[in-house]
């Protein structure tokens, strides 16, 4: 049997790697299915093969392949990062476009108009720092006070860098990419240059205060991420090889760079709205020790025995993920009744029936079961992660449902937690209240479904649902959720646009722009922030740049209501027309007719011909659907409102802070 790596080598030797790039991600998934042995070494090897790819040829053969532009710069040699980053992104079907800066010149690279990255529009700017960032500024001989001054200076510089990055992201042609810094490892070769324990302890404290302050910068700058290297180093071992550090300025080992690349790739994935939403778990030997069908409820354990405790620890980790908005589901080859009985009554279980949004215990193949779970939750198969101890079941799902990420577990339950968390499948830039409440919302969704099934018609259902919508400018605390909505919404996203929080804040601050959010409620409770409208005013009327609506609340008239009210207000304000755009993406075909259904007419093609431009002449405006209670506060559209067609802004070069 040939391994994934051998097949990649074959493709490379045949010159077919570009033409068959769609096979790369599945081959890498196969290669990482066995974390115990070869994967750690094989993934960088695969990265080396893939880094030599002709990007243009890949895109010619597979035009839909998403490209991630990553600017890489830092204190020391950074080129070594390209291979592992290529491999890690390729696992997610993403194609790396790396742009390397000059080492040691990261400030210039990242902020200067003459810098290499100016106008690049990088999705990620990786600025790889190391201990030299501070120590290169410490005189010889040195003491803790001198080091502390150097660290303060570096922190000030990095704060300035983050601020400048945020400022650039807010400018008209700013791209809002994410700047990535990292904590600096302190090594024994530093601490033990001091011979007295008191100074050493002070050095440790000063160094960690520096790292802590660096991590805290993320609270001030939403477009900044700081990767904490400490937990990565605890897993990978040595930070550097002193010979390669000394002779070749390689301040990090290949293993540590590979771990860093994995974090960065998951960050890139989450920023593209590819965060996984649901963890599907096997049961026997995954969630508990033993085979329920053979041993009965008394013969399984998740506590009390050495092995049982390991499963208990795994369940607690899963529960922790669930508390942060990861939906939990079960796919297990078992009879349904005994499984439900265990989840209700077995004394060892940390996870209970109410922790799961869907339990599929049956004897059908797992690829069909994961598809069924995705379907019932109204999410894509590519939002699922399966954790299973059986290699055969994993292979079956990898082949039958290749969009599903698969976590390989085996017969050593003490490793289950490590393996589940080895990849940041559920990483997200920021967690919102909606995330924390998600499992409850999906359970309420089930009640809604029951109401729908019990109602005579869809219209009856909507009347009984009592949908309320509030449409207004976002409040300060809502921007994080708003950014997340734009990043995660794929189906009802009329142009595919995704925006980062700083960009949204900049638009909301600009009186010529229209940023609105929709909050919805119904008789079952609060749905939270579920939709957003982005627009701007021009001489020829109002332009709707995009609309997003969470798939949880589709088909309740919310989208029709929001547009109807905008049309009404535009007409009342005496505007000439309302313009809109639709650009097809891989997932938004269902909303192609959304604007036409509301009376918009197609008037032409969008710039490059990929989308359509639409126009509503405001002569006949459909009313807001009557089952909807809609409260709209849109000051920027009201006649005589704060923006009555006049430009009162300071202008883009104004001295705003």
């Amino acid at each position: 049997m040939t391994t994934g790596l051998e097949r990649l080598r074959e493709l490379k030797a045949l010159g077919r790697l570009e033409a068959e790039y769609d096979r790369v991600a599945p081959l890498l998934a196969e290669l990482t299915d066995d974390p115990g042995t070869s994967a750690a070494a094989d993934l960088p090897r695969a990265g080396r093969l893939l880094a030599g790819l002709d990007r243009a040829a890949v895109l010619a053969a597979h035009p839909g392949t998403p490209v991630v532009t990553v600017a890489v710069t830092g204190q020391s040699t950074v080129a070594q990062l390209v291979d592992p980053l290529t491999a890690e992104l390729a696992r997610h079907g993403l194609l790396l476009h790396p742009v390397l800066g000059d080492h040691g010149a990261y400030l210039h690279d990242l902020t200067s108009e003459q810098g290499l990255f100016h106008g690049l529009g990088a999705d990620l700017s990786l600025c790889l720092l190391d201990a030299e960032t501070v120590f290169s500024e410490v005189p010889l001989p040195w003491d803790v006070a001198a080091l502390s001054r150097a660290a303060d200076g570096v922190l000030e510089r990095l704060t300035g860098l983050a601020a400048e990055h945020a400022r650039l992201a807010g400018t008209a042609d700013g791209t809002g990419g994410t700047l990535v810094l990292n904590t600096l490892p302190l090594l024994r070769r530093h601490t033990h240059q001091l011979v007295d324990h008191r100074s050493r302890a002070r050095l440790g404290a000063v160094w960690r205060e520096f790292n802590a302050a660096l991590l805290r910068l993320t609270e001030r700058f939403p477009g900044l991420a700081v990767i904490d290297l400490d937990p990565l180093i605890a897993d990978t071992g040595p930070v550097l090889d002193p010979r390669l550090a000394g002779y070749a300025k390689a301040q990090y080992t290949a293993a540590l760079l590979a771990a860093y690349a994995r974090e960065a790739a998951h960050l890139a994935r989450s920023l593209r709205g590819m965060t996984k939403k649901c963890l599907v778990l096997d049961l026997d030997d995954t969630l508990w020790d033993g085979i329920l069908g053979d041993a009965g409820a008394d013969g399984i354990a998740a506590a009390g025995t050495l092995r049982g405790e390991a499963f208990g620890a795994f369940q607690r980790t899963v529960k922790q993920l669930g508390s942060q908005g990861v939906l939990l589901a079960v796919s297990s080859k078992n009879d349904a009744e005994p499984v439900l009985a265990v989840l209700r009554d077995h004394p060892d279980m940390v996870l209970r029936e109410t922790d799961f949004v869907q339990v599929n215990a049956n004897w059908r193949p797992k690829d069909g079961n994961v598809a069924d779970i995705a379907d019932r939750l109204g999410i894509g198969l590519d939002s699922l992660v399966l954790a299973d101890d059986s290699p055969a079941e994993r292979a079956q799902v990898r082949h039958g449902a290749p969009q599903v990420a698969v976590v390989p577990l085996d017969d050593e339950p003490a490793l289950h937690v490590t393996r589940l968390l080895a990849d940041g499948w559920f990483d997200t830039p920021r967690l919102t209240d909606e995330d924390r409440a998600r499992t409850g919302q999906y359970r309420v969704e089930r009640e809604r479904r029951e109401l729908r099934e019990g109602s005579g018609s869809h219209a009856d259902f909507l009347r009984e649902l009592k949908v309320g919508v509030e449409l207004s400018a976002p409040l300060g605390h809502e921007f994080a959720r708003l950014a997340q909505l734009t990043q995660r919404t794929n189906q009802f996203n009329l142009t595919g646009l995704r925006l980062a929080q700083p960009d949204l804040e900049a638009r909301a601050a600009d009186p010529r722009q229209l940023v609105l959010v929709a909050r919805a409620t119904d008789r079952f409770g609060d749905n939270g922030l579920v939709g957003a409208v982005l627009g701007h005013r021009a001489a020829d009327g109002l332009h709707l740049d995009n609309i997003w609506l969470s798939c949880r609340v589709l088909a309740r008239g919310i989208e029709q209501g929001c547009v109807a009210v905008l049309l009404e207000r535009a007409r009342d304000a005496g505007l000439a027309a309302v313009h809109a755009r639709y650009r097809p993406t891989a997932k938004n075909h269902r909303v192609r007719d959304f604007y036409p259904s509301l009376g918009f007419e197609e008037v032409g093609e969008d710039g490059d011909g990929a989308g359509v431009l639409l126009r509503h002449d405001l002569r006949t405006v459909l009313p807001v659907p009557e089952h909807l209670t809609l409260d709209a506060r849109i000051e920027r559209l009201d006649a005589g409102g704060p923006n009555d067609g006049h430009d009162r802004n300071d202008g883009p070069e104004g001295d705003r802070r």
Partner: protein
């Protein structure tokens, strides 16, 4: 894992692990003229060779070597003797 004691085996390792297209004559080509070679390959080569031989290799000399044949003579058999 026999293999890198002779020069042919060493070149095979370079082809597989570093993805380089090398002819046997490239053993004597100046590294600057080897197609696809860059200084990053040296860093990988160092850890690769230490994994392969289970010995410490003379890193500085390897980094300064001009041909694969020179690197090979530093690491095959008498590597220890060549260490500083």
């Amino acid at each position: 894992m026999s293999g890198i004691d002779d020069l042919g085996g060493f070149l095979r390792l370079l082809r597989t692990e570093l993805g380089l297209q090398l002819s046997d004559r490239d053993a004597y080509t100046d590294l600057a003229d080897v197609e696809g070679w860059d200084s990053l390959h040296l860093l990988r080569l160092v850890s690769l060779l230490e994994d392969e031989t289970g010995r410490r290799i003379p890193v500085r000399q390897v980094l300064e070597a001009r041909t694969f044949q020179q690197i090979h003579s530093l690491v095959a058999g008498g590597a220890r003797a060549a260490a500083p």
